[in-house]
């Protein structure tokens, strides 16, 4: 986006503080517009047809100024629709990345129906708790292996019956993709189609227009990719995703990596010329699997399959960082899903969010004076992890949060931000002694080394808890109440 301060945005707003947007002032609304927490449409006067002469021009100009550097493309509809692209910066600390990399997992049209449906359900229902929310997967990519339009359509039908997730319809044969799009309700779900190339682009351009769906353009040659993107844009098809190819190993991988970086750099910093490629990018870590020996594919869990799933995760890692907005993966093994989806959550977290929570004494559940008293630090991640481990296991207790300058337990012990003195101060300033009668405090296992000195400094009995708060339930059974 071309502007960065609320005052600049404010100049384009009515300036009447009418509160129709729900904010008290136009300036407050302006800063929320910048944060993308409000939309221009939330300001009715800006678009009020009667007031058009007054604000219409300003509104248009503002929309232009606020548009992200990389086009934002929406795939799917409803609750599980995903927005991809829409980025403004090359490095997350410069502001934040806005739309996390969407993870699409593949199914194919030669799968037996029962297997297909089970896999789609697994992809749709997968979830992992992380810092206060459940991480989920984003899309299902349907691949045409048979190259048979009818068979592909049948597969798409079964998949769409099974899930609300956005779909990616994959074939280089426009007739095959068209068969999928023609099914009742499929085009309305706004699937992403894959892919237009130097050879088939006319047909795919036709499909994108006819069915009004976003379309992927594929070419390993960046000049060709640029030409495809320009051609589609000029033809009015602007919901584009660019796939410059994902070579899985060696010099090819080095080259693919460079393409993603250069494409995104052109899109964000490249002025007018760069805007020709300022679209979301697609990586395909599942190219790892192409060319693997058939025996390896057919023996799930054998070492070559494990290696491939690792390598796929490595490619995913690389392109989550640089700069895939959507990627297609194959391994749905938990050991792949958990770290890959977690990395997406990490990189796409707003780096401006506070690192720490307020120190203090928190009651979890309905604790009594004989409930356990746990210690943790005010690093937000540590706090939320411990809090959710205790509360999801329904353990009534007190949690005292020490001020460690926002460091986790291990780092705070190593750096001296969590020591006997800090513990003494913490217990005293939050008047913890008034809440429990046992005068026993449970230190995190990773703070074991300060247990002796803490006992001396505070006069409290110190018990060393488990190294990970996930082990608290089992630990409590053996260690609480203290002798």
């Amino acid at each position: 986006m071309k502007i960065s301060s609320p005052m600049e945005v404010w100049k384009y707003l009515p300036g009447t503080n009418c509160k129709e947007c729900g904010e008290k002032t136009c300036l407050a609304f302006a800063s929320l517009l910048l944060e993308r927490k409000k939309k221009l449409e939330d300001c009715p006067p800006l678009f009020d047809p009667l007031a058009k002469s007054k604000y219409g021009e300003k509104g248009r100009k503002l929309a232009e100024l606020l548009a992200p550097e990389v086009r934002e493309v929406e795939i799917g509809v409803g609750e599980r629709a995903v927005k991809i692209g829409g980025e403004d910066v090359l490095h997350r600390h410069e502001r934040t990345f806005f739309n996390r990399t969407a993870l699409a997992y593949d199914v194919w049209d030669t799968m037996p129906e029962a297997e297909l449906r089970a896999r789609v359900r697994r992809i749709s229902e997968w979830q992992k708790f992380y810092v206060g929310e459940f991480l989920r997967l984003d899309a299902v990519a349907v691949r045409s292996v048979s190259d048979d339009a009818e068979r592909f359509a049948e597969c798409v039908r079964q998949v769409s019956e099974e899930t609300d997730l956005p779909l990616v319809l994959c074939s280089f044969d426009a007739r095959v993709v068209e068969a999928g799009l023609k099914l009742a309700g499929v085009a309305e779900r706004r699937p992403l189609i894959y892919a237009a190339t130097e050879r088939n682009w006319r047909e795919f351009l036709g499909l994108a227009k006819q069915f009004e769906v976003p379309v992927t353009l594929f070419s390993e040659n960046l000049d060709t990719l640029n030409r495809l993107a320009l051609t589609f844009s000029l033809a009015g098809v602007k919901d584009l995703v660019l796939d410059p190819g994902t070579q899985p190993v060696g010099a090819g991988l080095e080259e693919s990596f460079s393409k993603f970086v250069r494409l995104r750099r052109a899109g964000i910093e490249g002025e007018e010329k760069g805007k020709e490629v300022a679209f979301p990018l697609m990586a395909v870590p599942m190219t790892t699997w192409v060319g693997l020996a058939r025996e390896a594919r057919e023996n799930e869990g054998n070492s070559e399959t494990l290696e491939a799933s690792y390598w796929e995760a490595i490619l995913a890692d690389l392109f989550i960082l640089k700069y895939a907005d959507i990627m297609i993966l194959h391994s749905t093994e938990p050991h792949s899903l958990i770290p890959v989806r977690t990395l997406v959550a990490n990189i796409y977290t707003d780096p401006r969010r506070p690192v720490s929570v307020n120190p203090g004494l928190k009651a979890v559940g309905n604790p009594s004076e004989s409930s356990p008293l746990f210690v943790t630090t005010n690093f937000a991640l540590t706090y939320y992890t411990v809090e959710s481990d205790i509360s999801s296991n329904k353990i009534d207790s007190f949690l005292v949060v020490a001020d460690t300058d926002g460091l986790g337990v291990e780092a705070a012990v190593a750096g001296g931000q969590l020591n006997a003195e800090v513990m003494k101060e913490t217990l005293e300033s939050f008047a913890v002694a008034e809440k429990v009668k046992h005068k026993t405090v449970v230190l995190p296992g990773l703070a074991a080394r300060i247990s002796g000195e803490t006992e001396d400094a505070t006069g409290w009995k110190v018990v060393v808890g488990p190294r990970d708060s996930g082990q608290i339930p089992g630990w409590l059974e053996k260690n609480w109440p203290p002798e």
Binding site: K209, L225, R265, A266, S388, G452
Partner: protein
């Protein structure tokens, strides 16, 4: 009602608009636009532009041609008009002419190059040295500036047996009693570029091993392996200065990396010991860019040469603060490239910290609603790999790691990104690494 414009009409109009700069333009064929509906002039000028370009084969005419067309069409064409029924009838026949262009990054700074280890010609006994740093661009951005050295992996060993995640422990059980054997295994079996010996038993809360005894362990390790080594203390700020002093003396001339100097301890003693005995020093801070600048400046003041400093801005595990570590390192590296000489040093990352993530070792999820976590043995190495690779892409030059599979995978991928495949085409295995596949085949891939 349709209105037709031929290329001849266009030419005429272009002339009317005094477009005379048509040098070198070749009209390749007849151009015909079909426009429906009087008044409803809804043809996106972009489409016409496009058609014009493909026929005229020139790019720069776009604006001029659009102006001309507007006049042809009675001025009704507005920039930014969206797609309509009419537009669909007009399909471009050829791809637009364009070339992909992007500028190279212009950095002014350069990361210091640090040599670890010393061979006999430099007063040491290492077989070869390891060089890190020297970058003039972001990691693996060879298109901006060729990366001078690939990241290096140092595999950890400890001076006493320590509790390890099950998936890691299995690889070391046979050598845990003997730091020399442990170090050997790291090099021989796991291909370590370097070995880190952690003198954790010196911690008064563990064994309180005297500094002199710890120094002997360092000698053992130096004799056991020929690679450069990192010497780590226990992390106890009171004890470490004495331990690292003794270790530095024992390793005189070997140009080890002494780990580490830190703001909450007597870093002067450590820095001076490193200086006196010919070692490099690890400057460690905790996720704080300003603290890192401060500590580095203190080291400059003590007269530690720039080429003897490596920094450790702290590693947090995937899912447990990796985002902070990533951004902290990335910011430091970008600052260095922008010319901040306080931060222009190679970066070391304690990737073994990845095992602190519960997902790396815990059998099942403590959260009932989670989908199945699968076998822990498969998760752990990937946590270490992804923590390592992520920080490598942020700017890490030296990775301290533990799981052999993880160390090998990080080595392999960073070598590829570094460009080793292109450079050493003749080496064993390079054929496979250099091979490109038909990437689009994933669409119809018949495997499972």
């Amino acid at each position: 009602m349709a209105k037709k414009i031929t290329s001849a009409d266009l030419e005429e109009r272009l002339e009317k608009h005094e477009v005379v700069e048509l040098d070198g333009v070749e009209i390749k064929g007849d151009l015909e636009f079909e426009l429906s509906a009087a008044g409803g002039v809804a043809v996106p000028p972009s489409v016409l532009q496009q058609a014009l370009q493909s026929v005229l084969g020139v790019q720069s005419l776009a604006q001029v041609a659009q102006a001309a067309l507007q006049s042809v069409l009675g001025g009704g064409v507005q920039a930014g008009t969206g797609e309509t029924e009419t537009a669909r009838k007009i399909e471009a026949q050829e791809l637009a002419t364009a070339r992909f262009e992007v500028a190279k990054a212009k950095w002014v700074g350069k990361v210091e190059e640090v040599t670890l280890g010393a061979t006999s010609s430099d007063g040491g006994t290492r077989e070869k040295v390891v060089k890190i740093g020297g970058e003039k661009s972001l990691p693996f951005y060879n298109f901006d500036h060729k990366m001078p050295h690939a990241p290096v992996i140092s595999v950890d060993c400890f001076d006493i047996p320590i509790p390890l995640a099950k998936a890691v422990r299995g690889h070391y059980e046979d050598v845990m009693q003997d730091p020399g054997e442990w170090a050997k295994k790291n090099v021989r079996e796991f291909g370590a570029d370097m070995v880190t010996i952690h003198l954790i038993s010196t911690d008064p809360l563990i064994n309180d091993t005297p500094a002199r005894e710890a120094a002997k362990t360092v000698e053992e390790v130096l004799q056991a392996v020929k690679v450069p080594i990192v010497i780590g203390g226990s992390g106890n700020p009171e004890k470490d200065p004495a331990v690292l002093e003794a270790a530095a003396e024992a390793a005189e001339g070997e140009r080890c990396l002494i780990a580490s100097a830190n703001l909450n301890m007597d870093y002067k003693r450590i820095a001076n010991a490193a200086k006196e005995h010919g070692h490099t020093i690890l400057s460690w801070t905790q996720l704080d860019i300003n603290a890192q600048k401060t500590l580095n400046r203190y080291l400059f003041k003590l007269g530690v040469p720039r080429e003897d400093i490596v920094i450790d801005p702290t590693t947090a595990a995937l899912g447990y603060g990796l985002d902070y570590a990533f951004t902290n390192i990335e910011r430091m590296r970008i600052s260095a490239l922008k010319g901040d000489t306080d931060l222009a040093f190679p970066i070391s990352c304690g990737i073994t910290n990845a095992w602190g993530a519960r997902e790396a070792w815990m059998k099942n999820s403590p959260i009932a609603e989670d989908s199945d976590w699968g076998p822990a043995a498969y998760r752990g190495p990937l946590y270490e790999i992804m923590t390592g690779l992520t920080l490598g892409v942020a700017g890490g030059d030296l990775f301290m790691m533990m799981h052999p599979k993880a160390a090998a995978a990080v080595k392999r991928v960073t070598q590829m990104l570094f460009g080793a495949a292109a450079k050493e085409g003749a080496e064993a295995g390079a054929e496979e690494e250099g091979r490109k596949i038909k990437v689009e085949d994933w669409v119809s891939w018949g495997g499972r």
